[in-house]
Symmetry: C2
Subunit: 196 residues, 2 copies
DNA sequence: CTCATCTTGGACTGTTCGGTTCAAGATAGG
DNA sequence: CCTATCTTGAACCGAACAGTCCAAGATGAG
């Protein structure tokens, strides 16, 4: 039972991430993480660090993984902005539809807990939300949206994406989540049609 | 120090509510509640019940207090629907602007924690979100909005209201929060203009 | 085969958790 | 003044918490 590492780091990190994602920082004990990852307590501390740094790693992992997908979805925004933003939200909807993953969003989960989290973790969550807005801003700029509209919609769409996370936690149907998004897409479509 | 009650129940409940609201269920200990309310542990248990039922009482208190304000804001929706919905969001924005109250929203806070809360609490949070949608639906119907639009906007606006809670937790500026809302109000204004 | 290296499981520490119990003592009615 | 009633503070309980430590033993290099 020793010698070389007996677990897959990627699998273990995913399991820890899912656990934090589902239950949040405070409601996740190190024993929970041990059970979820299959790793013993001492292995968690030696390989994954303490609870705080593990949470930070999970947050980065989450932000990178889905950040890449959001980027990809928005990549052809200049050609078809509406289709791109629709694809952006599809990343979220598909994630929620995946039965292997918790509802909601780890970033939203973290943001709601900011007052009781370490400053380092709080800063990372804020940074992830800023990155999401920046992503949208870049895409909307490439789509030649009016300057003021770019900033407004970037902020609005990032927020609506978070609202989908909250509503999915409360058991909203896929149809309801679609509706939330479609109203915003309607507004965006209107802005795109009237761009310079 | 005994004989008749030596504390104001309303003040104590408010203090407990604010504490849950700020830190969430899991990160709030009974000792925290004791400090926040100024009540001893045994007084909390005898007068306020255990942690679960106290949380439930705080949730109801929150839902009633702000539910009434949301109702009032929407009360003249038939005359000026847009102004009414703007007033609806102002309830949220004013709450967030109040330095004596935490950012965010206790309902959103609760919804995000549903997987680790008791079924009774989870049900109450879902019920509060449903009530919010019903409120908006009633108001938009009274405003003669098109039938399909009524349901869509009720779901959308309730969700956007939750998104404001998340973003305020992450330190979004009042201006950003306004922008999130204004984009939705723009969409609503468009729908109102094209009503039958 | 031998042995230094490194992972692992489990025991352990001190603290905090939610919840209960109860004696001390203040109160209000008579 | 007296006494039944009720609140209160603090001690207490077992469980769970985050984090540490170390012997047992598997491994791979020589």
């Amino acid at each position: 039972m020793a010698g070389r590492k007996q677990f897959d780091m990627e699998v273990a990190l995913d399991a820890a991430m899912v656990r934090f994602w589902r239950a949040g920082y405070a409601a996740t004990s190190v024993d929970d993480l041990s059970r979820a990852t299959g790793l013993n307590r001492s292995s968690i501390y030696s390989s994954l660090g303490d609870k705080d740094s593990l949470y930070l790693r999970c947050l980065d992992r989450y932000a990178t993984r889905y950040g890449d997908r959001y980027d990809q979805a928005l990549s052809d925004a200049s050609a078809e902005p509406l289709r791109a933003v629709r694809a952006f939200f599809d990343v979220t909807l598909q994630r929620i539809a995946d039965p292997a993953l918790p509802d909601g969003c780890l970033i939203a989960q973290t943001a709601m807990a900011i007052p009781v989290l370490s400053p380092a973790i709080a800063a990372r969550a804020v940074q992830a939300l800023d990155a999401q807005q920046a992503r949208l801003r870049t895409a909307l700029t490439a789509a030649n949206l009016r300057g003021t509209d770019v900033d407004d919609f970037a902020v609005h769409l990032a927020a609506v994406n978070q609202s989908v996370a909250v509503m999915s936690r409360a058991g909203a149907s896929r149809q309801q989540l679609r509706t939330i998004i479609d109203v915003s897409l309607g507004a965006l479509s209107h802005a795109v049609r009237s761009r310079d």
